[in-house]
Symmetry: C2
Subunit: 163 residues, 2 copies
DNA sequence: GTCAGTGCAAACTTTTTGCAACTAC
DNA sequence: GTAGTTGCAAAAAGTTTGCACTGAC
């Protein structure tokens, strides 16, 4: 998903719609948290989100409010909860039609992509004794930045050895 | 994967091989923990594993040892760490060539399956700017037991209504 | 005005750490 | 004998809860 200004606006819209639709209130905290989610690059823990808000955005919220609203955002499909490197992380991701996440094991950045073929294939799986309701695919690897950084580091080591 | 006696023996073998190959020691605790993993049905938390051991198997281990060894088991590919219902759970699963897990959202049981087509498809993905190293697929749904239980429950409600 | 939402601090759960004692090799 | 391992208890990290107060509707 592109993380442009309009994507952020659309997310805001989506949140508003979700809140109204579920009898929940549009509080400034909720929109500030959403903004912080957009300002963080890659994945984050509730604590990191809190830090982003208080230190960089200068918006004070309580820890409990962050936790509460991450659950709401998750149910609204605005963020996803992932297991990354052994601990739970959240990532921005509110495209319902995205079925696959590319997870960079270097920097933790998560990009959602779509692949109709794989989606079809999974829906066509003939699973005896199992009634599917959904699925989630995570592809692990290195993004271009981290991949290049690794190459540079390797080259340096190589050069040192040859001296 | 079938959870027969022989599967357990093979897992034990695999653990032994892994430990030897990595300069780690074969302690009684390690094998007792592996046994407990087999005795638990479905997924478990470190705490549940500890309870299983101390209460049912009557084998005392420290919490720290359970945590340490779950990490080793994970690296050895004997167990998998999953995000289930918002919290981290482990499941037995040591088939390296299994690329997909069926996760029952009713009872938490996890079954690994293979699908060469999907595996090929993912490896063939043309991902610009991303160097894949691995992937993980989780298919959520209801196993036959839970599915039937749900049906029965629904029928009961239906019957009550019609009275 | 009402009640959902918030802040705060305390409680609780989960995981990690440091160190002495132990034991597999 | 020598490390790798364990148990234990304390600390740290992560999450939930209860309650009084606030503010969105």
């Amino acid at each position: 998903m592109e993380k442009s200004e309009s994507a952020q606006n659309r997310a805001k819209q989506a949140l508003e719609t979700y809140l109204h639709g579920h009898g929940l209130r549009c509080t400034p905290e909720r929109f500030a948290i959403l903004e912080a989610v957009f300002n963080i690059d890659g994945n984050f823990s509730p604590d990191m989100l809190l830090e982003e808000m208080t230190e960089r955005q200068n918006f004070r919220v309580s820890r409990a409010t962050v936790y509460n609203n991450l659950i709401i955002f998750e149910q609204a499909g605005l963020v996803k909860r992932l297991l990354l490197g052994g601990s739970i992380r959240f990532v921005l991701g509110w495209h319902e039609n995205c079925n696959m996440s590319l997870v960079c094991t270097g920097c933790g950045k998560v990009t959602d992509i779509q692949d109709r073929k794989i989606d079809t294939q999974i829906h066509d799986l003939k699973m005896r004794r199992f009634q599917m309701t959904g699925y989630s695919i995570q592809v692990f690897g290195l993004c271009s930045k981290c991949s290049q950084a690794l190459k540079r580091r390797m080259k340096k080591i190589e050069n040192k050895r040859n001296k």
